[in-house]
């Protein structure tokens, strides 16, 4: 359990860093590191499939998308974040952490829960056989994403 908590703390630290850092490229790298840690956490939770997915897609593909965008939008002067927002952040974070822990402590043993269905076979079976409609949804998502990006980057013969 200790290892998991350490990994989760690392995850939170990198995520916070991704927000605070001024340099967007460093922020993107921190985000990738956070995803990597999350993937390892997933492995430790006995969830290898989502771990692989998280690392390859989020730490991989999304980071690449970010880096491409950052490269295409190098501004002359950086966007100055509000000074206040930046150094209030650690304070608010710690505050929230405290509230979080208190709420969690008070909720121990108070939440009723039902047992779930028994384990349903391998991941492949579950994804393909049980949640087939989700796969249709995923196809829809991918179409929407691809068509959307194509529409946004199309060549225009005359301007609006």
């Amino acid at each position: 359990m200790i290892l998991e908590i350490a990994l989760l703390c690392g995850l939170v630290v990198f995520s916070a860093a991704a927000i605070i850092l001024r340099d967007l490229l460093k922020a993107a790298i921190c985000l990738a590191a956070a995803s990597l840690l999350l993937g390892i956490v997933y492995f430790r939770m006995n969830a290898p499939y989502i771990g692989v997915f998280e690392i390859s897609v989020v730490a991989g593909m999304i980071t690449v998308l970010f880096i491409v965008t950052i490269a295409l939008t190098k501004t002359g002067g950086d966007v100055r974040e509000a000074k206040a927002a930046e150094w209030i952040f650690p304070l608010v974070l710690v505050l929230f952490l405290a509230v979080d822990i208190l709420v969690a402590k008070s909720l121990i043993n108070k939440i009723p829960a039902l047992e779930s269905l028994p384990e349903q076979g391998t991941f492949g079976e579950v994804l393909w056989k049980m949640r087939t409609f989700d796969l249709v949804g995923q196809i829809g998502l991918i179409f929407a994403g691809v068509l959307g990006v194509l529409a946004l980057f199309r060549k225009r013969s005359k301007d609006e």
Partner: protein, 493 residues
Amino acid sequence: MAFLFVALPLVVAGILPLIGKISKKVLPDVVANSVLIILLGLVFVEGRGLVGQAASIQQLSWLGEPVNIKLLLDGFSLFMLFAVSLVGLAISLFSIDYMDHYGSKANFYALFLVMIAGMNGLLLATDLFQVYLFLEVAAIASYALVAFGLGHDELEAAFKYLMLSAVASVFIMLAVTIIFGLTGSLGFEPVSQGLRALDAKFIVGLCSAFFIMGFGLKAALVPFHAWLPDAHPSAPAPISAVLSGLLIKVSGVYALTRVFITVFGLPPDLSTVLMYLGIISMVVAALLALGQTDIKRMLAYSSISQVGYIILGIGLGTPLGILGGLFHLFNHALAKSLLFLNSGSLQMSTGTRNLDEMGGLAKRMPVTAGTNLVGALSIAGVPPLNGFWSKLIIIIALIQAGHWAFALIAVLVSVLTLWYYLLIQRKAFFGKLNEKWNAVREAPFWMTVSTVLLALLCIVTGIFFAATVQSWVRPAADALVRGVQAALGSVGF
């Protein structure tokens, strides 16, 4: 068979870009529109098959092996499918002419079909996660469609819409996860049974709050409405029509209703909260609509107001209230799409959306003026058009349930609605013809066809409202009132 509702638009959407490369002019239009016509026909086929049996959960089979796709087809989802197909067809006809100057029409139609597929998938979903998934499909398609024109306003509106929508998604998914944690499953029926077995009032209340925040944002209820007045005016007219006429209702109202009534069973506290949200939306949005000069912004605020009516009716929880709310949903989908399409015609002919600059256009654009009048009167609730009947039913339901104050406010807002719609009519169409518009012509063929179609539907639904209510709306209301198991014993066909 019902799977075609999702599969057909999706598959055609995939092929459309290729078709677009082959023939830019005619083929994409024909293909896209025929898809919608087929869907409309499918609604009737499915409806006929459904008469006399309980809600059907359809199981597909592919090449002999049963494929595990379960689709929920009951009175309520069929009713919404009907609305989506009907309004979708009208909008798609309109786009034949309107989207000509935006370029890349095949791509537009493809995105539009993906959105329709997403909405249909949401309507047919059997469990909470699928509702969320297809909601996102339709939403992502809509982000791209809002920004389709690539102008500054459109991009800004699309980005804000995306951000707010992402927040809404977080809340919805949070609630779904908590429910998953509590009951261990996601399907509508197992969850509702599970929640009844548990006694977790606080957690269910918390989830309801999250759902209201999430779906309320999608439905543009006050105070979650901030994205709509920016997104709808900036988007191209047919997209504004789809967003206002369909998307906020399918992903907002339908999802909300499904979850709250079918799964949660609408406890009385929740009912009160919904009614208050509805009333506040109605009043605030109507007041905000008065001060607008941009015609599409005024229509956008009016949408927020009318969704308030719908939520008021449904939130009331009585059979008559639900009936009124659903009927108003249908009527508003027809009429609001009509009005937005007309605003598109106006924008295309005159190049402006500013009401103060228009004037006396009825002489040059008689068809548009006429259909606009029908749409405006319908939403304002003037007899014998359809809007009147649905508002009347809601008001009667309120009185029956003893909520006199609400009923009074509803009537007053109705009057307010009539006022600002007449304002639009007067400023844009009647009065003296502004010199600038002497050369303006009526809207192109397909645009007039679709608006006339919608106007005729408004009139017909109004005159024959008893038949419409009996055959379409009552089964939907019954399906809701009796929970997941619904008996579709209507006399409709």
